[in-house]
Amino acid sequence: MTLPQHLDPEHHHRLMESIQDPVNLKYLRRFMTDFAKDPSKITDKQAGWLYEQGFLPEKIELYDFDTYDIALYLSDVQRWMTREVNGEYSIVFNNKILFTQVFRNFCKVAPITAIWRNGRIIPYDDVWERCVTGQLDEPRKFVIKPLGGGGGGNVYFVQVGRKSAMIESNEPGRERFTLPVERLGDIFIGAKVPFMVTEFIYQGEFTKRLYPLTVNTVRMLIVRDPETLLPHVVRTVQRMGTASSYPIDNFSLGGLSAEIDIETGVLGPAVAAAGPHKGPRWDHHPNTGEPIAGQVVPKWSTVVEDMKSLFLQVPYISYCGFDLILMDDDVVVLEGNSYSQVRLFQMHRPLLPDPIYTKVLSHNGIFQK
């Protein structure tokens, strides 16, 4: 693919050389330390080529540099720098309580049941108390995850009955265990960070069919055009869990990503960045055999318009990767990421051919024309 007019082949080099302020130098430091320990097998020549342009060695395997010029890709250094686009409002995305409190005014979010912090539970309603005293009318499911951070680590899915709770997680050694309901708080033993307990959201039939054992979320990257101030959907992917990412759909842990055509809602083939399914492009789910490529997300145009409308209602946000659960008749906004991972987008095709996206980056000093 040839470079569009707004991209100079040397822009990555120029950005790397121009970074001088301490905030971005810290992101550069992060890149350099990550680069040094990246276990990907690359040649010395490839190492120099990637390092000078701000890409980690893993990108040799993940990105299609044979088809697309490296100048078309958002680099790892640039991705870290997107962390500053929302300025002080980033905190809305960095703390899941704040996110829920803010966004529940504009869209459907996963209701908070309780918070665990400093060794004690802070209930938001009477549900947690009814859980631990065996007073639930019927079994209920909850999701427990850390208040901050991403990457899918330490997520617990809890099914609570009257006498016991069954817990599944991606934590090594605690994949599946049960607790008497009165000892439900033992889940947090040894935890060093605060956790949030939310109600489990049951996904719609379309995403459930792709891989029914995980909640398969959509990641939608939306930016605000600095000239028109209107939202612009840059890229959207459908994530899917696999046997190796179970019980979550996390892309870094072996889940799949399939691009959704923003105009039509048609899914492309899926790829994996880690685990046994890394490498090929999957037209069908490798575990279930369910077709992926060519499937159409139901009511897609409504989803896109709803998200644009939401973005208009939070004018102080300029850059966000939203995680969505598609229900049959509605959308739940699970969380927002102020510096969204971009591998799951760029493994399909690079991001920088989008001129509005590069305009946002340029406006924030992340892209050198």
Binding site: D21, P22, L25, R29, F35, A36, K37, S40
Partner: protein, 348 residues
């Protein structure tokens, strides 16, 4: 009249008045990871960028496990084999113990930011012309026979020995013939170069390299570490140059086993002589250096090269960049109490 005042009272205008703390440390955390993680100023972050560029330019690349371990602790690739550093030394049950042990080594990155402790004098720390002008009354410096500034050579005096070129930077590119340094022949790179007279030529000589830090408690300079290097004077720091090196015990002046190593090479040093011996002229050298630095207490970090001549010690080089390799071939130098006090004081 001596400018040294007992009790640490500083002569006005000599010791930097502004704070020289490079960043606030938690004081307990002296590890390399902590140091790199806490960097928050443009100049130190840029120093890390320079270090990282040098590390990543090394070919062939190290295996990621070793490379990540060395880089993320601030060591260049050659230090793994040179010092025997490896991630395999980390006890998974007690990784802090390893961090504490490794923290006793002066890292390459730490050596790069150490000169910032020289405060307002830091920009001049590796400027030989400035050093020669400043220190000539207090240290037994080799005679200055010429200098080059703004592309012009200025002759200061004749010499009977060989002429050695000392550049502004730590890298010393060799001994140019005097007649090559004619007025106007120089480039910007050669500016602030000095030409000194030394009683030896291209042959290998013994050079005592002494690293000195300022002890914030005693408010006096102390010898951090010392090494006896054997090689041609103009090639001691050149990349790829091979030399023999003995660690000197500053307390006794005894030089340990002799090891041969090559600058920048990823290879373990080779022991060529197990026997220890007294360093000739050690006490006159260290006395001259410390008394000179006490009289002119400008530098918190300084390294001096001294040769032993018939007339006594002669300082043939001064720089604020410590020689990480030679000083630590036989073990770390930053474990001493005074060194820890220095790190806590200056945050490096």
């Amino acid at each position: 009249m001596s400018m040294f005042v007992p009790g640490g009272v500083r002569p006005p205008g000599l010791f930097p008045a502004e704070p020289r703390v490079i960043y606030q440390t938690k004081r307990k955390n002296l590890t390399h990871e902590g140091r790199i993680g806490r960097l928050d100023r443009t100049e130190t972050l840029n120093a890390f960028r320079d270090f990282s560029h040098a590390f990543h330019a090394h070919r062939p690349r190290l295996e990621p496990e070793l490379g990540g371990y060395l880089h993320n602790h601030g060591f260049l690739p050659d230090k793994g084999a040179l010092f025997g550093l490896s991630p395999e030394l980390i006890d998974p049950e007690n990784p802090d113990e390893h961090s504490d042990w490794l923290g006793q080594y002066l890292s390459d990155f730490q050596a790069a930011i150490l000169p910032l402790a020289n405060g307002r004098y830091a920009p001049a720390g590796s400027n030989r012309l400035f050093q020669w002008r400043l220190q000539r009354r207090v240290l037994p410096l080799a005679p200055l026979v010429g200098s080059r500034q703004s592309g012009r050579v200025i002759r200061h005096g004749a010499t009977e020995g060989a002429i050695l070129s000392r550049g502004m930077n730590t890298g010393r590119e060799g001994l140019p013939a005097w007649h090559d340094a004619l007025p106007g022949a120089g480039t910007g790179d050669d500016d602030d170069r000095v030409y000194i007279g030394v009683p030896c030529g291209q042959e290998a000589v013994e050079v005592t390299r002494i690293a000195v830090l300022h002890d914030p408690q005693a408010k006096l300079p102390f010898v951090l570490g010392a090494a006896l290097l054997t090689g041609p004077l103009d090639a001691l720091d050149a990349p790829g140059s091979a030399m023999e090196c003995r660690r000197i015990d500053p307390e006794t002046g005894m030089a340990g086993a002799s090891r041969r190593f090559e600058r920048g090479a990823v290879a373990a040093p080779e022991t060529v002589d197990e026997n220890s011996r007294i360093v000739p002229g050690w006490w006159p050298a260290v006395t001259a250096v410390l008394s000179g630095l006490r009289q002119l207490p400008v530098w918190a970090v300084i390294q001096l090269d001294v040769i032993d001549t018939a007339e006594g010690p002669m300082v043939v080089d001064l720089t604020d960049r410590l020689d990480v390799a030679a000083l630590q071939l036989d073990g770390p130098v930053m474990g001493a109490e005074a060194a820890i006090r220095f790190v806590k004081e200056f945050g490096v």
